[in-house]
Symmetry: C3
Subunit: 416 residues, 3 copies
């Protein structure tokens, strides 16, 4: 039962990854230095936020996509690899994009920003994992970091959107980027391959679905930290409370609607993994503007409904029309609730400006939102096309969602 996978990644992966890593080190050598501020009053607070974000990124997103029966090792380990690479790339990119201002020496704040900028990459990875090898994922990290960096730059410079809102556009950006990359990588199976084996691979195992639940719970617990990370201290309380209520309501809604969507009233574990987070995603952009808890609760309820509805209806459409197989639920966890949140933000801002006919602001907000969506899709298509090039030695379609293509299994190693 030896793997038929050609042993090509042996030189390919170390060559690319170590070269990239040496290049990053050189760039850091030439361009990045620590700031010389001796006493940073906010140091411990910022470090606390970084810990929460890293916990979400490394553990939360890592285990969230680990529920596939045969792909749990890759999901967790590749996620960490992408995080480590993405943060470095984001720090460098942020440095170059703020080149003119000359004030961006390396502090803890740049790690905070870089970790948040890497989140869309990890969201995309939820759709792509299982269809790409580590070299392809490294390329995707670079492409997506660059594209999201450009989006953030344009949002700030052209549309004058603030940091927090731009980051919250990242949910949509990541989701649609990932979906389009996954679409490009989707290939019909060669005839003669047992389809049952392929279907079985993307099913959950009981044990690894508990790991996915662990990831979900960690994201659930620390989501208020994520939503309030870039918010001013005076607005932080509202951001935390709104996120908390939206998450609580979307949990109750998603769990019960999942029972409604099954003919026998049974709950689907994949829905729980994904839809309980929808409230947090939806409340992301407007979280500091919402003045009363009930609005956050209505948003959480709507997000839970949309998410379960999407999970029930969309796979049918997407599978048939676009041939995207997306068992991870990236679309209805981050895509749809992200759009809901952006639209809510859009309404809230208008209301806050006390001028219904503030057409200018409307156009600008709408422009920023569409721009983020368009950039995510365009960059996703480009990246997907790029990943199809032969040079990356992509896994065969029969080896999709298969840990054995990438990992040395001790109990198989006996024969070697």
């Amino acid at each position: 039962m030896g793997s038929k996978y050609p042993p090509s990644l042996r030189c390919c992966l170390p060559l690319w990854a170590v070269t990239l890593q040496v290049a990053f080190t050189l760039l850091f050598y030439f361009f990045i230095s620590y700031d010389t501020l001796q006493v940073d009053q906010k140091l411990l607070v910022t470090y606390q936020v970084i810990k929460d974000l890293t916990l979400m990124a490394a553990l939360g997103f890592g285990f969230l996509s680990s529920s596939f029966r045969r792909h749990s090792w890759s999901s967790v380990a590749f996620n960490l690899f992408m995080l480590a690479l993405g943060v470095q790339a984001s720090v460098l990119l942020d440095h170059f994009l703020s080149w003119t201002s000359q004030k961006d020496a390396l502090s803890l704040l740049s790690i905070r920003k870089a970790t948040m900028s890497t989140m869309p990459v990890l969201i995309s990875a939820g759709a792509v994992l299982g269809k790409a090898n580590l070299v392809q994922l490294a390329v995707m990290v670079l492409m997506e970091t660059a594209a999201f960096g450009a989006t953030r730059f344009a949002d700030k410079q052209v549309f004058q959107v603030e940091d927090h809102t731009v980051m919250m556009h990242g949910h949509m950006f990541g989701a649609y980027f990932g979906l389009l990359v996954a679409w490009c990588l989707s290939r019909s199976l060669p005839s003669g391959v047992d389809e049952k084996v392929q279907t079985e691979k993307v099913q959950m195992a009981t044990g690894s679905s508990l790991f996915a639940m662990l990831g979900t719970l960690l994201l659930w617990i620390f989501w208020p930290s994520f939503n309030s990370a870039l918010v001013e201290l005076t607005d932080k309380k509202n951001a935390v409370l709104n996120t908390y209520y939206a998450l609580a309501v979307s949990t109750v809604t998603a769990t019960s609607m999942s029972a409604l969507s099954h003919s026998q009233g049974k709950i689907n574990m994949v829905h729980i993994h994904n839809a309980v987070l929808a409230g947090g995603v939806a409340v992301g952009a407007p979280c500091s503007l919402i003045p009363s808890p009930w609005i956050a609760m209505v948003l959480g309820l709507t997000a839970g409904l949309i998410s379960i509805g999407g999970a029930k209806c969309l796979p049918v459409c997407l599978n048939r029309m676009l041939q995207i197989q997306n068992p991870g639920g990236t679309h209805y966890t981050f895509g749809l609730p992200g759009v809901l949140g952006a639209v809510t933000y859009f309404c809230k801002t208008r209301k806050n400006s006390y001028s219904i006919f503030d057409v200018n602001q409307m156009i600008i907000d709408f422009g920023a939102l569409s721009f983020a969506l368009a950039m995510g899709m365009a960059a996703g298509l480009l990246t997907g096309w790029l990943l199809n090039i032969k040079v990356w030695r992509a896994p065969h379609a029969t080896k999709y969602f298969d840990d054995q293509a990438f990992w040395e299994f001790p109990h198989l190693a006996v024969g070697f």
Copy 2:
């Protein structure tokens, strides 16, 4: 091997849960608003405590009861559902109970209090999970939140006990509430059912017992946060240190006594899951009053002994006399050590008042303790009786501790 469970929860669960959720949202709309304090100096500290408590509630209690071979999915996911519902109910209840004072606008402090008030619900759930469906659990959340809210109100108004002590009574309250609900839901199996299958269900699987260990460890690590959450800043240091030492000693004691209680000197994993926490529970009420570490250590040692002794002797009595099957160990983790802690608190307060004949205070403390116990038992009986009503479509006794009654399993879904 299709499930014989009637598909009734399909309408029942969404109807109840979404109605409840909409009712909560309306109540929030009419009654709750954020406070208008712009700058809250303690904001980040309070948020830190909330994160710790939510981590304990969602992850710790969720995984603590996930060790049953066939009931791990339900344990974790239903626990999150109950937490989300319980926090909302507690916030509303706290608001109505402090109606007269008019000063309780929604701040982070109310979430902290609400999360702590939901802990007894999650403790009870440890005894009830596996015997009730999600609708019954939602009813239980409402009943127990109301009962515990009433207890807290009476303790504060009548007995003048402070918040911290009332919350620590919650361990006992939750444990005995849960045991009596479980007693009401215990049913003898219909004849003809293979008892072996039923016994096998409540056994641990190796993998899921590691998840339970994860829950235990998280509770162990964050227990000092729980015990010190409502303590004044000046007493916080003692509360943290005493909890830490009591936990350390009860770990060593419980592990070694578990070996003594087995005929071949083998350790029981269920004992470890539960008894290592006994020290933290026992030290809960008096944690800020204990002036020296050795007292906390003696308390931890006693709690470990009581807990293992209870685990060895009580199931025999309880199973025979009361027909309660409680594989989760709620009684000897939270019940007995909670009583030990309350009694210690009782002695400590008396000693601190430097008057051995302070009969008044004695009666008051004893009254508060008995009142909490009596309320827990009475409310538990009432709730248990309520949950036996047909309208909730309770699972059959043969489907107890069975994930298949509630969850859509992908690998079984093929035939549907």
Copy 3:
């Protein structure tokens, strides 16, 4: 299939453990009291660090060594037992070693120091777990705590090394201590025993390797807390950032080099569990002195290379020459990167003192490093010899790495 293990631990373990625990309680009664400082401004910050460290110790190290197919229960539970015992022993030892100064009343800082002093014990445990019973491990905790306490005392009094550096020597100390204890406990199997069964035991299971990954990720996330715990507030920023970058780079390097080291380009999960942490270990000692991120990155890259190289080459040498079987990877995770870090620290200090011929300081630093190494090895040999005494009722070599020797399994308990 009943266990052939003699039921001797039944009295042995409780006798030793409870006696030890009572002795500790008595020592605390006579010698340790809380400090009377009423208001501690740093209280919450210190408690935050303690939580991070306890999380690393109880969850991180506990699950890191849980990947063996048949030894996961023991790894996690025994790790907690050792932590609970080690912290108490360290607090007592620290008190007696600072006897003269009279100022070391018990505060949160002493728990922080004690938890950090227990880390080397948990590192050693990674090499010893599976070959020793709980009584032997308790003896090892006492021996190693005493030996590391003596090393710290000598380092501070004789070599005038500061606390932070001494603690970072603990990685090496723990690794070589553990390796030599494991060497003493390694026994050739009696003839007639199926070697296949023994080999199979130390292999990973897919599920428990995810638990090990959880441990790794938690250590990865909180390593900056560990490295910056004893650093002055002004240097904390550099310590955190350098650790973060070194970890990121060693993750990328280790993952890709692991593919290079396999003939088919497949990644080894055990490498990932261990080598991604190498960067954090290597950057430990000099973390607050490194002035630019690129140096930390180069250190992380080197640590990743050394770690994977060691993982590939050393087992062959060690297994053949010294008969040490060390599937846990203690040596190449903590031993080699720890030496690299100490040597880097050595160079950095010299450079910082602006005097290349500062021979005095060179000799002192080199002396402290060699002393820690020598103490670790000598104490390890002594402890290994001690653990071979019959009185501890060590498990047979055929029962190495076997949970059944220590744990009551419900599904086997039927026949008893």
